[in-house]
Symmetry: C2
Subunit: 244 residues, 2 copies
């Protein structure tokens, strides 16, 4: 149920920091001795070894891991690690870093579920900083941990949530918490954008929300708490077709 | 009124592609001969030369440029280019790429307005792909040009817009176009998040919106067109304190 992070370079270190802040359980695989001393300093769980080797991945618990993130410096090694990991665990979520052009397709073929290219994302962000500077500011604030005015978050509607069957407006969520629901990921995987206020909330929906951290925490509690939610749900609202 | 892009590496090429798609006028400064042949193929406007030199930047029109993007491979050179550019044009918007740790602060000191670190952004995106996979999907769809279901855009309210003085709800925007207004950047620079429906629209506000490309285009037209907007503005709505 843990994550395996292969490579403790700049990107690996950043991912460890984000995971540790959640906290999410993880183990690092790293082969360089100078780097290993940094891992000891951070007190992260780690394995000294080569992530391209079956044995190392097995010792890292790959059979019961939730995901593996391949972020060593070499594209060839990331492809090899991905291939090996996919062979050892067909259900594992594999996220890999792509460096050179053409490596993305190879990583996908090797079995990566998702590939991130820092150059591609960096270049895109720079272009958008000129083309849509305010959108970039907004996204950086909404997704960054430092700016606490706004957060974009995802909230799963559990099987027995009091909100099931309510519409976005009858749920009373916007009024009670101030969050905006900008999207709903259905259990089928389909993404509904800008759902209108009469959209019904269903079990296992994932709401994509925007709001202050405190507001979001409040909503996270409400989605599972029958008695709490009862006070905010609008039971008096007539059906849409009865509106004037 | 153009942009100067220093360096036609992977990131420079990506930025050129995005700018050409808008289209936004730019000129590339590149010193490597093999790279220059690629520029000739793309038919981009370019200058063969060293962007660390005053003369090259002057020939590229730095005195009347709107912005400069420093994306050569070497951090030291990006710092030098930034310093030189800032010296030649104090009002220029300078965006620079940062590679190694510590270069971000030097670029800022050298005069960069904004610094983007591909490793930092790449690592952050990878961590978020695990921590908030649906939020990441949403943002990638909203900001990417390929997925046309949803776009996040910024729309400036011009001085004489028919929407000035209307509230978000009386403007009729949500009803007429389907877009959500997720933020408002005020002329003062202050960002208002999740503005409530009774927020007044003011001249020179920049609305941060989410919607389908067609809906957004419709709104862009409406903000400047008195007669078009008149049909969607809700003149009958009573003042907030008159609501039941
Ligand atoms: Ca934030
Ligand atoms: Ca899009």
């Amino acid at each position: 149920d843990h994550y395996i992070i292969c490579g403790y370079g700049r990107i690996g270190a950043l991912i460890c920091r984000e995971f540790a802040a959640r906290p999410l359980p993880f183990v690092v695989i790293e082969k360089g001795s100078e780097v290993v001393s940094k891992l000891e300093q951070e007190e992260y769980l780690f394995l000294r070894g080569d992530a391209t080797e079956d044995d190392t991945l097995l010792r890292a618990g790959i059979k019961r891991a939730k995901g593996l993130i391949s972020v060593v410096t070499s594209d060839t090694e990331n492809v090899y690690i991905t291939l090996t990991a996919r062979g050892l665990n067909p259900d594992l979520y594999i996220l890999a870093r792509s460096g050179e052009d053409g490596s993305e397709i190879k990583l996908k073929r090797a079995g990566a579920n998702k590939v991130v290219s820092p150059y591609q994302i960096g270049g895109s962000r720079m272009a958008q900083a000129i083309l849509r500077p305010n959108v970039v500011d907004f996204i950086e604030i909404a997704t960054g941990r430092e700016h606490l005015d706004l957060q974009m978050e995802e909230i799963r509607i559990p099987e027995k949530s009091p909100f099931i069957g309510e519409t976005l407006v009858t749920s009373g969520v916007r009024k009670a918490t101030g969050v905006i629901i900008v999207g709903i990921k259905k259990a089928t995987g389909k993404m509904v954008f800008n759902p209108h206020s009469h959209t019904k909330i269903e079990a296992l929906d994932t709401l994509i929300v925007l709001g202050e951290p405190g507001e979001i925490t409040k909503l996270e509690q409400l989605v599972s708490c029958e008695s709490c939610a009862d006070s905010i749900i609008n039971h008096d609202t007539k059906e849409p077709h009865d509106h004037a």
